[in-house]
């Protein structure tokens, strides 16, 4: 079976001349559909760059990127946007919800760009909010929600369009331990119940306990790739 994500010799350099920074120096990586992967590494290791490339938010300088068997490394900005729209979901450290916009409208947003009808949009956004346990907070704006609740809304927004991959960039970075645990359990649940592939960036070692595969990035290269099978409640 072809892996869902397949990278071969992927590099990314920023800047020109003397100021050139090699963020990634040749990454080979396969991620199967349904996997739950944690990307680890100190800051400046290139893990965020890798995440941006995997999430098609940016284009690599060189190398191959096959998404579901198709080369996507040289897509235009608009084509990458369409790929994100139809196959990818994002959760960020800073929640990144639209301010002064109700939870329901935030969750609806990806469906709006898909051109879905208003009624269907509402229905699916409500279902997504219910699935993260915020069905009764649909009318609340981000300012009226706690951090954990905001992150739940963000997760609902990421999965409402039924993506193939959910990218989570430090999803618990702004949350306390108890809330972090809830959010991680929610993500694990989405992975196990809906089969959504999860790629999560984190630098907190305890969060990797939730992932069955931990990839370590160091100086723009893969330093380690461990599979952990014995952990309870992990994905």
């Amino acid at each position: 079976m072809t892996p869902l994500i397949s990278l071969r010799g992927l590099t990314k350099t920023y800047g020109r001349g003397d100021a050139t920074v090699e963020a990634l120096r040749g990454i080979d990586l396969d991620i199967e559909a349904g996997e739950c992967v944690a990307l680890m590494g100190p800051s400046g290791s290139g893990k965020s760059t890798l995440m941006n490339l995997l999430g098609c938010l940016d284009a690599p300088t060189d190398g191959r990127y096959l998404f579901a068997g198709r080369g996507v490394e040289s897509l235009s900005a608009a084509q990458r946007a369409l790929l994100r729209r139809h196959f990818l979901g994002f959760v960020f450290q800073g929640f990144n919800l639209l301010a002064r916009t109700s939870a329901l409208e935030n969750v609806e947003l990806p469906l709006l760009y898909r051109g879905m009808s208003r009624a269907l949009r509402r229905q699916r956004a409500r279902a997504a909010l219910d699935s993260v346990g915020l069905g009764d907070r649909a009318r609340h704006t981000p300012a009226e929600l706690s951090g954990g609740q905001q992150q739940r809304v963000a997760i609902a927004r990421a999965v409402v369009s039924e993506p193939r991959v959910l990218f989570a960039d430090e999803p618990t970075g702004n949350l306390d331990t108890a809330t972090s645990r809830e959010i991680m359990e929610l993500i694990v649940d989405l992975n196990q119940r809906l089969g959504i592939t999860v790629v999560m960036v984190t630098h907190e070692i305890e969060m990797t306990a939730y992932a069955r595969r931990v990839i370590e990035v160091r100086d723009g290269l893969l330093a380690a790739d461990r599979r952990v099978d014995a952990v309870q409640e992990a994905c």
């Binding site: 999430g55 946007a81 994100r84 990144n96 919800l97 409208e105 760009y113 898909r114």
Partner: protein, 404 residues
């Protein structure tokens, strides 16, 4: 996609109504200013031409010097009283012709004194100039021939001097001449230049020349008023009168006229042109404020792109195409300016009705200027929304998401 952008843009506008209102304020004021200026100007033009036309379609006026209005010269000699008689004799289409001489005088009655215009003319003057009587009578042929000190007062002069008292039979002093009031004229109202036509005292030309002007010049008549017979083309009368006057003034065939003969149609057109130029100037000044309003929209939209960088990043990460982001900002800008235009037009409607009433100008709804102002406000939205929208669409999603 445009439809989608509409929904998103409207939602964003609703989300920040105060900012939206402040953004469009400039366009509202600009559009309102342009429409009010032009509407009032059109009303003023219409009122001027209406008043001139109310003089009657068969009135023809001859004045010394070339042209009327700006640039006219008055160095040419005036007419003689005999010119009027000559015109009636030579031009069969002219039913009457009267010489008119104006003089500024101070009219005194008891303690009241008032600076006014004395008009010296012949008996036919009242009919040619379209005056009717409120009380008393006009002066007679015999009184005119004998240069009797009699006069007919305009209604506002009568009101000023006499108030509630009876003017008929009273003696009014004009300069050193004591003059008996024989009649009071019906009110005519405001003149074409905004002057009070009823602030006037009419007396026989003979009386004015011999007993008031203090000097009997041969060529002191400033105006000849000629009345064309009904159903006669005034153009032909104008030409015939010009021929008579050229001959009497001894103008050689190769020389230009040193006088002008025009009918009411032309007077209306000339005066109308003057007010139209003023209207255009005022409209142009107002258009500048509309432009400033448009720049205000661009300013806020540019600030808003910076302020909403994160929002743009979120939308792009979720899968919004760059052109969808561009459309969103474009539509926001156009919707704002179009709404501003509509509010401005509504405001202008109320404002110009009120101002027209206050200034005594008729209110004329100008479809054209309203459409132009509206189209202009929409164009402002497109023009000044373009740059912010392009900037928003060119943002890099990663950079935008990192933006604080």
């Amino acid at each position: 996609m445009v439809w989608n952008a509409f929904g998103i843009a409207l939602r964003e506008i609703r989300r920040n109504l105060v900012r939206a209102a402040l953004t469009v304020l400039g366009v509202v004021i600009g559009v309102a200013a342009v429409v009010v200026m032009v509407t009032l100007g059109d009303g003023a033009t219409a009122s001027v031409t209406d008043q001139v036309k109310s003089l009657g379609s068969n009135l023809i006026v001859a004045r010394p010097g070339r042209g009327l209005g700006p640039g006219s010269t008055s160095s040419a000699p005036g007419f003689e009283a005999a010119d009027a008689a000559a015109i009636v004799d030579a031009v069969p289409e002219a039913s009457a012709a009267v010489p008119v001489r104006n003089l500024s005088v101070t009219a005194v009655y008891l303690q009241e004194n008032w600076s006014t215009q004395a008009v010296g003319s012949t008996v036919d003057y009242f009919e040619v100039a379209g005056w009717s009587l409120a009380s008393g009578r006009f002066f007679t042929e015999a009184e005119a021939r004998a240069a009797r000190p009699v006069c007919v007062l305009g209604s506002s002069l009568a009101a000023t001097l006499f108030g509630q008292l009876e003017p008929l039979g009273a003696e009014v002093r004009l300069k050193t001449l004591s003059c008996r009031v024989v009649g009071v004229l019906e009110t005519k109202g405001q003149g074409a230049m905004g002057n009070d036509q009823d602030d006037v005292v009419v007396l026989p030309l003979t009386t004015l020349e011999r007993r008031l002007a203090g000097r009997v010049g041969r060529r002191d008549i400033s105006t000849l008023m000629i009345s064309a017979r009904d159903g006669v083309s005034t153009d032909r009368v104008v030409q015939s009168v010009a021929v008579v006057l050229r001959e009497r003034r001894g103008i050689a065939a190769n020389e230009d006229d040193d006088f002008s003969v025009i009918d009411t149609e032309q007077i209306a057109a000339t005066l109308g042109a003057t007010t139209r130029i003023l209207t255009m100037l005022l409209g142009a000044v107002a258009a500048v404020s509309l432009l400033v309003g448009g720049i205000g929209i661009m300013n806020i939209m540019l600030v808003s792109v910076t302020e909403r960088t994160r929002e743009i990043g979120i939308r792009m990460a979720i899968g919004a195409l760059p052109r969808e982001v561009r459309w969103q900002f474009m539509v926001e800008s156009v919707v704002l300016s179009v709404v501003g235009g509509l509010v401005g037009i509504a405001l202008a409607l109320v404002g110009s009705i009120a101002l027209a009433d206050l200034m005594g100008i008729p209110f004329r709804f100008g479809t054209r200027i309203n459409l132009i102002a509206f189209a202009f406000s929409a164009a402002v939205g497109v023009l000044f929304g373009f740059m912010p929208a392009r900037r928003a669409a060119r943002l890099d999603p990663i950079e935008a998401l990192r933006h604080e």
